[in-house]
Symmetry: C2
Subunit: 214 residues, 2 copies
Amino acid sequence: MTATRRVRLPPAERRAQLVALGREMLAERTLEELSIEEIADAAGVSRGLLFHYFSGKAEFALEVAKASAAELIERTEPSPDWDAEDALRFSVAAYVDYVAENPQSYVSLVRGAASGDDAVRAVHEATRTALADRTIGFVTRFGFELPATERLAVRGWIAFSEEVTVNWCTLPDDARPSRDELLDLLTNALPALVLGIPLAELRDDERLRSPGLK
Amino acid sequence: MTATRRVRLPPAERRAQLVALGREMLAERTLEELSIEEIADAAGVSRGLLFHYFSGKAEFALEVAKASAAELIERTEPSPDWDAEDALRFSVAAYVDYVAENPQSYVSLVRGAASGDDAVRAVHEATRTALADRTIGFVTRFGFELPATERLAVRGWIAFSEEVTVNWCTLPDDARPSRDELLDLLTNALPALVLGIPLAELRDDERLRSPGLK
């Protein structure tokens, strides 16, 4: 075996490797700018092998979007042992850091904004729904009621957080609020929107202090 | 002249008529489902004449998106004589009614979600910016300070309102909060998010009661 000889990988690993590579390449440019040839070259595989794993660029982009969404959901999952405020702040911080690490690929993939592809947009919708459902489950676990209007508000809070965070990333350094100010804004927004009370008042509520084991 | 003879219109009027027709047709289906032939047929003009006014379906869609966005911005403009709460509620109600009247075309056009077209997405971005800038101007006119973080929050509130309203439209009748509940949620969200205080408390602030003539 020589160093130039291509390494054989089991199909699932090869597929995962190609998707991981796609995510790296898309951190720096958009899907439109990327060709199948470049992806194959970077992976050290032939164009034909790439098509063996993915029917085309659209399927490849979809798998990259799914992997990004899965990582986002995993990274923002708080521990069930934490109290409500810690858990909320952890999720918000993990979300902000995820977006700040790769703003371009976040906008073009997870957000689905740069994609005219229905399947990629569906991944973004599903991600928003997963994050909203987790937040709803989390808030209700702490004993708060969430009628239909408040459930809508949780969904809106996800969109609020996306828009604020993506815009925050694009601000020039001297005009950008600090990361802590951003985290305060997003963290305070949830109880303000959903429960109609500022977080400072909510701190007196003992439900917020106990781990939400109902 | 017979009834079947096509009416001659000056170019600007004909163009406006075609755009208006496009908006009507898109209220019921997406741009992808619509062909240039159908648009020409419905307008009673030849395919060739349509191409005389628009270079293709992409330009036609862009003009339709611009017209929708302009109407949205115009309809949600409050009178400068109103006090802050009346003006906010008027804008929110006008926005909700606009979306509820044509949810599908709103989603596919103004929101740019169903479009992989950069120009159409730019119209949506510009619309969000126009609505956010107007709201920022409006809030500052009433004497409230808006540092960078609060300006981000206003932009986030626009995204919050979009997400909540679009989702509200899609809920089945028996699970949908009333229009008044929706208006309360959106109206209360702005001061809660941007100023960190519930609207009920803000009502004691005399700035809110005076027409904002500074």
